[in-house]
Amino acid sequence: MTDHEVTSTDERLDPIVERAAALLRRPEPVGQAWRDALMASVAVPAQRRGTTMRVWVPLGIAAAVSAVVGVQRLNAGNGGDQVRFAVSAPSAKRVSLVGDFNGWNPTAVPMRRGSSDVWVVKVRLQPGRHVFAFSIDGALRADSAAPRAVEDDFGVPGSVVVVPGRGTD
């Protein structure tokens, strides 16, 4: 292995910091799953691999797909997918998307009114399970076309979307 540079005397650390550095130098274990996934993806010859990098979190198709309202997975990219959310709310003035991906902040992801009074937005979500709802003029509403979240901690229902990572399935 390569050498470590000897610390010069004017760089000697205070003992409390040196102790911290020594603890930080302790190795991090390499997970077997991590290693396997890396080896699996580099086993593919370079010319056959696509431009994506996140091959190590492969999942399948998003769980809830609906034509008019609900959730649609769009193109995949680095670190998650573009997901299209839609809700029919003809008389609403302000609609936004809230969920665990934006701190349940109703100001973070406003939706746009499209044609036929369907409000839409496209959001990039990290792979995995997400809970969300629509904030319609301040009132929360779950997505009737998406699976209901099992959590009922606060008495107001939410919906679930599962976002795949990259890779084939």
Binding site: E5, D14, P27, V30, A37, L38, V42, G79, Q126
Partner: protein, 182 residues
């Protein structure tokens, strides 16, 4: 075999050579990424991406340079990207972190780990300071290597390391004094 020889073998088609390179450098990469990002899962993602990019770009590696430095340059970038992505995603504002609260779940079985204190202190550094401190005092890179890997100048890096060390001293000393909060 040296790293450069393993790179040569990989380019010649020997997959086990790359496996050997990964096994040599993954522990340090995971360590750096975990300390830098403060999250094991994010660190695994960043390290994974770094190795994949390195594998793809292997033909451009100059064997006269240190492989570790070359790999770390890629990893440093992946970590920066991860942090920028996280900052955009989370939109949270963190207040001044001069003081550290060493609270822990008061169920009696939770021992306060020294390591946890240190992670807190690290988190209170600016990203540049943390990066520089980790590269120099934990990963043991020299300043010339760090300059190559980060794109910053040597004197700027020395200043960051110095500031980081001073700040860590203050934070760790303060941390030892704070009582548990009710």
């Amino acid at each position: 075999m040296t790293d450069a020889e393993l790179v040569r073998s990989t380019l010649d088609g020997d997959a086990r050579a790359f496996t050997e390179l990964v096994d040599r450098h993954a522990p340090a990469c995971l360590r750096y990424a975990t300390r830098m990002l403060g999250d094991r899962a994010d660190a695994e993602d960043a390290a994974q991406e770094a190795f994949l990019r390195a594998h793809r770009a292997l033909a451009s590696y100059d064997r006269h340079l240190s492989f570790r430095t070359w790999l770390f340059a890629i990893l440093i970038n992946r970590c920066r990207t991860a942090m920028a992505r996280r900052a955009r995603r989370e939109r949270k504002v963190v207040t001044d972190t001069d003081a550290i609260s060493l609270s822990f779940v008061a169920d009696g079985s939770e021992a306060l780990e020294l390591r946890n204190e240190i992670e807190w202190a690290l988190a209170a550094l600016s990203a540049e300071q943390r990066e520089a401190f980790l590269l120099h005092h934990v990963e043991g890179l020299g300043y010339d290597e760090m300059a190559e890997a980060t794109g910053a100048g040597v004197s700027a890096l020395k200043m960051r390391v110095k500031r980081a060390s001073e700040r860590l001293k203050v934070l760790l000393e303060e941390g030892a004094k704070v009582d548990d909060r009710p």
